[in-house]
Amino acid sequence: MASTVHLDAAAAVPLHPAAREALLAALDDGWADPGRLYGAGRRARLLLDAARESVAATLGARPDEVRFTPSGTVADHCAVTGALAGRRRVGGHVVHSAIEHSAVLHAAAGADATAVPVDRQGRVDVAAYDAALRADTALACLISASHEVGTVQPVEEVAELCAARGIPLLVDAAQTVGRAPVPQGWSLLTASAHKWGGPPGVGVLAVRTGTRFGAGLPDGPVNLPAVVAAAVGLEAANAEAAAEDARLRPLVDRIRDRVAADVPDVEIVGDPVDRLPHLVTFSCLYAEGEALLTALDREGFAVSSGSSCTADILEPSHVLVAMGVLTHGNVRVSLHRGTTEADVEGFLDVLPRVVGALRRDAGVEGL
């Protein structure tokens, strides 16, 4: 059987060859404790500083504003808890979009939180966001673009509203960093290396100088070889980003067009234009998400789903729910630098047959 075509880049992409090379070199060269003063330690410190400088440049940050964490999830948790602790005297209220990453929602779960609704395309309502900000709002959060449906969020507009009130804004930019310019105006920003072709186990937390941060910034030891590889991978991803954007956008358009034409009763969700370059989501009426994923996997295609039956908790995706779109039969396809046109065509050839077979088995054809 041919190897599986990985179409779940939004979860993780394969290691970029430049990152892989850097990882192998850093395993030999960057094993020492960067806190030590002997030669190997100083060498490790230089590598860490260079990685931080490189990542900071991408984010539009100063090197001393950037920390590495064990994952994007940890970065989100640190950002929320640290910002809340730092602004305790102002209040404990959190404003976030209804479509944040679950790590942000979990971290904010104990707080007095207001979720700002999104429209049917999955874009947050700026006026509603403005109205949700209060005198005791300690933190505002807005994801740069939806990791589930790809819709780009009005980060810079919301950043202006927050800045005018002196409220720090956390931007989870995991899906944007390494693919598109990072939006400006953030006070705290998070990202995750395995989304851009770095190794798993490296998150980024940037905290703008002057942002009150109460919990102490994460400052423990880092997996230095992985951090070095993440930084090299990000430089490589940035260098290719414009070309990849131009290559992947038409492939996503092709998926949107052909799924709509070839699969009956399908709802393609998310903004068709103002979106991430590499991601598309659709829901197939009457099809069961888990069965769809399993059948596609059997055909050699790895995709993701926001349907409840595919989640550990039996709740459907909070993003699809917030948009008011169909939650069952959901498929998210996300592309990366290794995805070829032939991979996409192969998927599009298989999908109508897979959905048709599931519907036939369930006896729902023609409903």
């Binding site: 009426l285 459907p316 069952h328």
Partner: protein
């Protein structure tokens, strides 16, 4: 509101409640109201989404001791 038909989908996972609703639709008269009983967390979202996709009228939900009743009027 007294429904013209009640569809008991308690204990049945998504997308069964939506499928059963779609199967029942042709047997309803235009203007009739059908009540779908479900305790599946996706039904709350998928039944209104189905109504939008199929041009049927979503009337809302009522809490029940187990799950909820989702009300739909056949409009065409």
């Amino acid at each position: 509101m007294t429904p013209d038909r009640v569809l008991d989908c308690l204990g049945r996972p998504c997308p069964v409640p939506v499928i059963e609703l779609a199967k029942a639709l042709p047997s309803l008269g235009v203007g009739d109201v059908i009540e779908v009983l479900s305790d599946d967390p996706a039904a709350r979202h998928d039944i209104p989404a189905w109504c939008r996709m199929r041009g049927q009228e979503w009337l809302g939900e009522q809490a029940r001791p187990v799950g909820a009743a989702y009300l739909v009027r056949r409009t065409g």
